[in-house]
């Protein structure tokens, strides 16, 4: 259905009426020029050009302007695809940048236009491109878009994009993680756990995935599994936010059973290993008080002062965030994977291959 629709969209818009004040030829030419700048390495200028062009086109028309805009741009893309479907990869990357630029200008309808265009381009690429490679690229592109939406708290469409990304590539660990984070945010552990289990099948050593699975399993009553996973994370690995949180949550599980002495011993070890985490020190002060063990006030003050002197994201804050780092990595990877086809796009636009910028 989507494929059929896309074929229609990429076909010459014979029946599309020209909107009032909407110069299709001017737009088509401007779009091609912006793409030419993009492939020439003037990427910021290229984005700015298209943003202005689209904004002017929208301002000049009153009705069906976004549909007209979409038809013009897809018709150009269709023409360029004659050099190979791979040109859709850099085209999608370009339009994702345009999407962000529209968002920055708070031009929400135009941002939506750009987002939908990216989806159409990568879906076409997934269908017509080279098998797993194309599907993987499209999956990552959709996950990237989902990340932008999640950041803007447009969470329903974000979840749809992540889900589609997982359909296209069941091993897309970033999409699986992001989807789980999104479900957790709404307290929906039931729906988060399957994604996390799948994530750990794909990447058995994924520590963040293991941490989240442990926490969500505990929420669903899976005490033994969750506690075991937390203990495993706390006992080994680097002294990072994941290990801090494993200690914190394991201490909470033990404290909930009022085993204050055990919690006190655990947290004493945790503070020794990760002294820069003030939350562990506060927890230790509390369980010490409950277990009747003196915890020096000076140690608590020192923990607060240490945190203030070196402000960093706390482990608990890291946990509730969108997985920015993973998404940033994914976007860098997307760009790198699209680079080989920038020259193809340039050729399709009739640009001298010597002028085409193919990498950073």
């Amino acid at each position: 259905m989507v494929a059929a629709l896309l074929v229609v969209m990429l076909a010459p818009p014979a029946t599309a009426k020209r909107a009032r004040g909407f110069d299709r030829d001017h737009l088509r030419e401007g779009y091609r020029l912006a793409l030419a700048r993009w492939v020439s390495g003037e990427q910021d200028l290229a984005v700015a050009d298209l943003v202005e062009l689209e904004a002017a086109a929208v301002a000049a028309a009153e009705k069906d302007v976004y549909e007209a805009l979409r038809r013009v741009e897809l018709s150009v893309a269709r023409g360029l695809m004659s050099r190979g479907v791979e040109i859709l990869a850099p085209l999608a990357v370009f339009h994702e940048s345009v999407y962000l630029a529209h968002l920055e200008r708070r031009a929400v309808p135009l941002a939506l236009h750009s987002r939908l265009l990216v989806v159409e381009l990568v879906e076409t690429y997934a269908r017509q491109g080279p098998g797993v490679i194309a599907r993987s690229f499209a999956s990552d592109a959709l996950a990237s878009l989902g990340g932008h939406l999640q950041e803007a708290r447009i969470e329903g469409p974000a979840a749809d994009l992540y889900s589609r990304a997982v359909e296209l590539d069941a091993k897309n660990s970033t999409a699986l993680l992001a989807l789980a984070v999104l479900r957790e945010r709404h307290g929906d552990s039931d729906r988060a756990v399957p994604h996390l289990r799948r994530l750990l099948e794909v990447e058995p050593g994924h520590r963040e995935g293991a941490l989240r699975l442990a926490i969500n399993s505990l929420r669903l009553g899976g005490g033994a599994e969750g506690e075991g996973m937390l203990r495993s994370l706390a006992e080994g690995g680097p002294a990072d936010w994941i290990r801090s949180l494993a200690y914190q949550e394991l201490a909470k599980v033990i404290a909930a059973r009022e085993e204050w002495g055990t919690a006190q011993q655990l947290l004493t070890g945790a503070v020794a290993r990760i002294p820069e985490d003030p939350t562990l020190a506060i927890q230790l002060a509390y369980v010490s008080e409950r277990s009747g063990v003196d915890y020096p006030e000076a140690a608590l003050v020192a923990a607060l002062e240490r945190a203030a002197a070196q402000p960093a994201l706390s482990p608990r804050f890291r946990y509730i965030r969108i997985p920015y780092e993973r998404l940033d990595d994914l976007r860098r990877d997307l760009r790198a994977r699209s680079e080989p086809y920038v020259a193809e796009l340039g050729a399709a636009l009739g640009i001298d291959p010597g002028r085409v910028e193919t990498g950073p």
Partner: protein
């Protein structure tokens, strides 16, 4: 000594029945009764009516007044009712004579309520005795180490004495003298404080705010307050107003929602608070988000605190519970009136400690919590990866409860509200609080909750105080 004896014809009969008849006739004949008249006059009236009453002016003194009509009953009962309140009684003598004699003085039981044996004794001390007697009390004399230090002529049987700064064993004694001649005494010996000992001073201090029509009442005396601990009326040992030094932790929420002008206004509010500190006050300021962003040390000089400039950057989430617990914990070792002033929208999303843990601490701390509650954008309920809507709502309610139970209050501010004025208002309130000290009677140290109630003898007054504490 004169002995008054007036034999009359009625006396010869010498029976209770005839006396009743005589009194009855008197009443019927328009006498107004004896209440309010001198006792001697009443006895003379009985004599005039034929009762052979014999009494000494040493025993029946002119200032003795009949307080209550004697009513009916046997002769003995009627005369006893006349004589009883004055420590006298009637004995039927030979040939029907009625002899007025002194009642046997019965021992008066006395218990020393204050000071307590374990109480460290320095400077001003309240001495208080509890008396169990059948006779009215003339007075109670108090002695410290045998030296008279004060007298109480009506209940409460107490006196305040300045014993000076010396660290010494002391004997506190109360000598009770009854109006009928009864006597009673009791003493308590307090021991000097050994400096090697760890002394647990069990004095419980209550910070009480009294207001009427939204204005604090500042001129109440000790006698206006009644404190009940676990349902038992307590003896106030100390009574002061708001000049008790303050040890405060100011917790400023510096999370993302405070970014910009809100945080600038908050920092100005802190300055206003600190600038109103007195010489012996101490404060520490902590700017926190998901973890501490800035923390000053405790300082007792304004410049020392204000000199530790707080950064104006805000960001991150809010770990309110963790920092509120830390603030209460840091106040444990501070002297004076412990106070936490919290400025936040109260939307904790990141703490490791649930509010129930903080409440546990609140019930074991004597710190007051004041919460300047900033109106939150986007309504009251919210969810996060750590807690859902219902759990977060429950956390909010638990925080409100913690503030109330501490004896503090919540001041809600709309967006753009005057944060500086809120801080100043809290400082004004602290300065106008009454500080009531008592040694709780019947402490069991059983870890159970003891509810506290304060009554003020002022109509329409609103009284705010700590709801209770855990006895440990």
């Amino acid at each position: 000594m004169k002995v008054r004896s007036v034999p009359a014809s009625g006396a010869r009969r010498g029976s209770a029945g005839l006396l009743l008849l005589a009194l009855g006739v008197a009443t019927a004949s328009g006498q107004t009764g004896y209440a309010g008249r001198p006792l001697a006059e009443a006895l003379r009236d009985l004599q005039a009516r034929g009762l052979n009453v014999i009494f000494s002016s040493d025993l029946v003194q002119d200032e003795m007044i009949v307080e209550v009509e004697p009513g009916g009953g046997s002769l003995q009962q009627i005369v006893d009712r006349l004589l009883g309140p004055h420590g006298l009684k009637a004995e039927i003598g030979p040939r029907g004579t009625v002899l007025v004699v002194r009642r046997d003085a019965r021992p008066i039981r006395v218990t020393m309520l204050l000071p307590l044996p374990e109480q460290p004794i320095f400077d001003e001390v309240e001495i208080e005795a509890e008396i169990n007697a059948e006779e009215p009390i003339e007075r109670v004399d108090f002695f410290v180490d045998g030296r008279p230090v004060g007298t109480a002529r009506r209940a409460p049987w107490s006196a305040v004495v300045d014993v000076g700064p010396a660290n010494a064993d002391r004997e506190f004694r109360a000598l009770v003298i009854g109006k009928w001649g009864g006597r009673g005494t009791a003493a308590v010996v307090t021991e000097s404080v050994s400096i090697e000992d760890r002394v647990e001073v069990a004095l419980k201090q209550l910070y009480v705010t009294v207001s009427r029509d939204d204005r604090q009442l500042l001129d109440l005396g000790r006698e206006s307050f009644a404190v009940y601990d676990d349902g038992v009326r307590q003896n106030l040992v100390t009574f002061e107003r708001g000049d008790v030094p303050i040890a405060a932790v100011v917790l400023l929420d510096g999370s993302e929602s405070m970014r910009g002008r809100a945080l600038d206004a908050a920092v100005e509010g802190v300055r206003a608070f600190v600038e109103r500190m007195n010489a012996l006050d101490q404060a520490m300021v902590v700017l926190f988000a998901d973890q501490a962003l800035a923390a000053t040390s405790f300082a007792d000089d304004r410049d020392g605190i204000l000199g530790q400039v707080l950064p104006s950057a805000a960001g991150g989430g809010t770990a309110l519970n963790d920092h509120l617990y830390a603030a209460l914990r840091l106040l444990d070792s501070r002297q004076g009136r412990r106070v936490v002033v919290l400025l936040s929208d109260g939307a904790d999303v990141l703490s490791a400690l649930p509010m129930s843990d903080v409440l546990w601490k609140v019930q074991r701390s004597d710190a007051l919590i004041y919460w300047i509650r900033l109106e939150r954008r986007g309504g009251s309920s919210f969810s996060s990866a750590w807690r859902g809507f219902e759990a977060n709502d429950a956390e909010q309610q638990a925080l409100e409860r913690a503030v109330r139970e501490s004896g503090g209050r919540i001041e809600s501010l709309p967006a753009g509200g005057e944060i500086g004025e809120a801080f100043e208002g809290i400082m004004r309130e602290l300065r106008a609080q009454y500080v009531l000290g008592y040694y709780p009677k019947g402490r069991r140290r059983d870890g159970q909750w003891r509810a506290v109630r304060v009554r003020v003898e002022v109509p329409s007054a609103k009284v705010r105080f700590r709801a209770g504490y855990v006895d440990q």
